[in-house]
Symmetry: C2
């Protein structure tokens, strides 16, 4: 053998497909997936559920990036802005987008136990909301459609109400 496999944080060889795709998508828009942004996206992708900005920050700092909040918030905001991640307002956390590229409006199902997030296509929901709003004279700019509850895996093992939200 001539070329050793690189162990990239215990994951696969080279950037995961999600990262590569993100990079391509961004370049096409004249945007750059810089090292902090790339690593931030990796962190979100590696996480088992939604994570907070300060969790992201701690990992970035551990990897040699800046250790002050703006470092994380800027990268997260960038990713959210460009459809690669989502911000979950019910729990003040972030998660990688499950369907990057495809422009879509999603509703989020947030498990209050494991914090995993399922992303529902919700164009129709949003459309109804926008229309109802319009009928009320309100011009919608952005929406948050979120539900918290129990994911399939966590149902049954529900110990009354851990981490209610």
């Amino acid at each position: 053998m001539s070329k050793p496999l690189e162990s990239d944080h215990g994951a696969q060889v080279g950037p995961g497909p999600a990262i590569s795709r993100a990079e391509v998508q961004l370049r096409a828009q004249g945007l750059r997936l810089t090292p902090v942004r790339r690593r931030t996206l990796e962190i979100l992708l590696e996480a088992s559920g939604a994570i907070g900005a300060y969790d992201v920050l701690a990992r970035l700092a551990a990897d040699g990036f800046g250790s002050q909040p703006p470092v994380a918030y800027r990268a997260l905001d960038f990713l959210v802005e460009h459809g690669l991640a989502h911000r979950l307002r019910r729990i003040n956390a972030f998660t990688a987008c499950s369907h990057p590229g495809e422009t879509h409006h999603a509703a989020f199902l947030i498990c209050r136990i494991c914090r995993r997030v399922d992303e529902l296509h919700a164009g129709h929901l949003r459309q109804m909301l926008v229309q109802d709003a319009h009928a009320a004279g309100f011009a919608v700019e952005r929406t948050s459609l979120e539900a918290s509850g129990l994911c399939a895996d966590c149902q049954g093992q529900d110990v009354s109400d851990e981490g209610v939200e």
Copy 2:
């Protein structure tokens, strides 16, 4: 004349109808609209739009109630819990419920300029979300359906994007 009018914070005589109704509703459920809670509800009702917990706290403190965050959060949580107020997660703020009593699921239209909140009946929206979630194996417990944008009054006077959210 025998009985002087009471000037209750520059408002009307005695408790406003919303307060009276809230009191009746709560008593019927064996709950109490205590002084802090009552005043908190008044504060929300007097506000021109959604206000933050710390704004509420400052007013409570000015009225002689406790000045530590739990005082406000407890009262606000109680009101939200019992359908007299809503918490808006997009902007970390609270607003009095427009339709207390009637159990309903609402969607909120939050004006990013004046912070006024319109409450849409959204039983159908929520129902769709709950069903889509169910189909995905997710058991919904609570939802947040919020939109931010411009209310009828603030459209037109839009100076690019004040207070974007």
